[in-house]
Symmetry: C2
Subunit: 429 residues, 2 copies
Amino acid sequence: MPAPMSVHEEIRLLCEDAKRASRLLAEASSELKDAALRSVADSLDAAREEILAANAGDVAAARERGMPPAMLDRLTLTPARLAGIAAGVREIAALPDPVGRLLSREVRPNGLRIDKVSVPIGVIGVIYESRPNVTVDTAALCLKAGNATVLRGGSEAIRTNAALARAFAAGLERAGLPAACARLVPFTDREAVPALCGQTGLVDLIIPRGGHGLVKAVVESARVPVIKHYHGICHVYVDAAADPGMAVRIVLNAKCSRPGVCNAMETLLLDSALVADPSERSVKVLARLAAELAAAQVELRADARALPLFPGARPATPEDFDTEHLALILNVALVDGVDGALAHIARHGSGHSDAIVTDDASAAEKFLNGVDGACVYWNASTRFTDGGEFGFGAEIGISTDKLHARGPMGLAELTTYKYRIFGSGHTRG
Amino acid sequence: MPAPMSVHEEIRLLCEDAKRASRLLAEASSELKDAALRSVADSLDAAREEILAANAGDVAAARERGMPPAMLDRLTLTPARLAGIAAGVREIAALPDPVGRLLSREVRPNGLRIDKVSVPIGVIGVIYESRPNVTVDTAALCLKAGNATVLRGGSEAIRTNAALARAFAAGLERAGLPAACARLVPFTDREAVPALCGQTGLVDLIIPRGGHGLVKAVVESARVPVIKHYHGICHVYVDAAADPGMAVRIVLNAKCSRPGVCNAMETLLLDSALVADPSERSVKVLARLAAELAAAQVELRADARALPLFPGARPATPEDFDTEHLALILNVALVDGVDGALAHIARHGSGHSDAIVTDDASAAEKFLNGVDGACVYWNASTRFTDGGEFGFGAEIGISTDKLHARGPMGLAELTTYKYRIFGSGHTRG
């Protein structure tokens, strides 16, 4: 009897299969990739009962372990949600192929022609938490961009993810592509994360999507490139020169339209000039913000300077300003103009999305230049940071890193490039 | 008396200074950056005696330790070389600013305008070996792109690098920029490398330029993104349909024009059809290659199939095909057509530069598509992989990684982007 394989060996074999599959995918035609995606969608429809039964198992186990209702909801698949996942795959199939775009062409004085062309990245490892839709969305997007995927989902969704991955594999194989184009790590051992992150030469990129513990585990063990999809500590700065009505609308939208997502505002920065200024405009902004946030049942955590402005607010702790609440909780601080806002954001921001509300173009310009982040808004809500809103067709997530992809990461960001160089016997002198 | 600082603490302070400087640089005008670079060039000229004396100290110490002549030569500065370094800085000052380019502009159906604009990366750590010119070239390029630099050169060049860094700092300060824009790690402790690579939140990118040991040390300790400038195991594949004269010219150029650089060919792949084919053309290619490589005193290391073709060749070891010889040594292997070449390159290549010589367009297309590398050539020498040859104006090196920058890395690749988004009170429904 052979000795059982270690987690590291199993992951290595998975990644070797993925690497081989990625070479096939890199040469696959758009037609083949799109047919495979449609076939995957059909398989998801056909396997509906099996997937829902597996999901019911995960949900029952999670409920037994006392998972909170919001997380239980994220974990749960319904027939409608599953149909939505399959429809999403068909939408991805209908998008233009991001591979093979001519990014630039230059003919050098010596006649050498240098084409820069988009190509797949290769093998992408994705490490994520409980939402099972990520399994299919991610694998489908990566496949469209010619990449093979190794997926490592949360243990609480393992039955669902396994059923989804089986359907995905069946769809691929029916279309003539190997199942190794998108493979789920079939076990939940914790060592799978460092093992996957250490596959130099096999895995080209790791995308961690999740909270602090997950991202930290990935960063500490990674020997391959990582693009983090980490948290959004998003700020809205209301300048003294803001239009009162606009300021209130944007603040309410950024906090309340969907508090549980990464592009929701966590901290409201108010220009101290608003407080010093007894004009009707300033008084109106502050009073309306206080009233409408109270009406929306937003819990306020204010720094010492902002506390007197908001009856019912409690004092913020230092940690609050570094916390992604993902709930109807809002930090509030008073800052001295744009410079004060920039200093606060430099210290506490996560480089995700930050907004200024002002009618003063020079203040806006200073803010747009000064914030070191993926998406900086003038007179708009942070909630627009989203591949769909950006017109990307689909997104794999929001990169909070600076290199390769920053902000919404769509199909184009799932490719890299190579130079194809055409000579006629050129040698270098 | 305070306790002495640890290496880690010293590096942390350096990086904090660099971070502050990077915020200034990100907002600096093109004029200020260019004036600072010209001032640095003047300082290098003014400090000539001091720099050359420091270099003489490094060279003497290295000679005493028995450094081989080729490496001694790399380490040595002459008045002409130093003047060339200063001239290089003035050339960088004269290039267009890579920051602030509008990369795309989109107005969404809801009226939101989304501008994608190039911005500096932030703080770049560069870890390199003996060439002291890297100190100045790198810091100047990074500065031009609005980045602060922390430089960690080889211990054998520490006196030279320190003198160059002093002159650089003097030039910056005279122009009104802080010396922290480009700072050399002033000591040679080995722990400086992991300390620098672990500065999450302060260092945005590490570029290691060097051999296996250096790159490995960086990759193992890095908690921040890395773009490796690693070795080039470059291949030239001579197809059965190659023009004999062109094949010989390209092979000789790729191997012999400058064997010590990363874009030089290390392995010659010959189509086995050349051997099977008794036509004049095939015989001619093989005979001329053997004769001219012998005349150029290239040492050949051939696999079992190629050995009989090259009198005087010795059998290649398995390691040879994975070795960057950087010398007049050439691996030779017989492969079965383009597929055989692709399989060999997939196994042994480093994704740097590979070439096919053929008159057969479909063979060339297959090769250009099939090689997973930064630069793939048809009928041209691999030696063209170079920022200058690509028209980049200047280069910091050749990335052998796939993400963010692949192949020659110029000023544009030393920037990232952000989205500046313009609304008129936009909220998301």
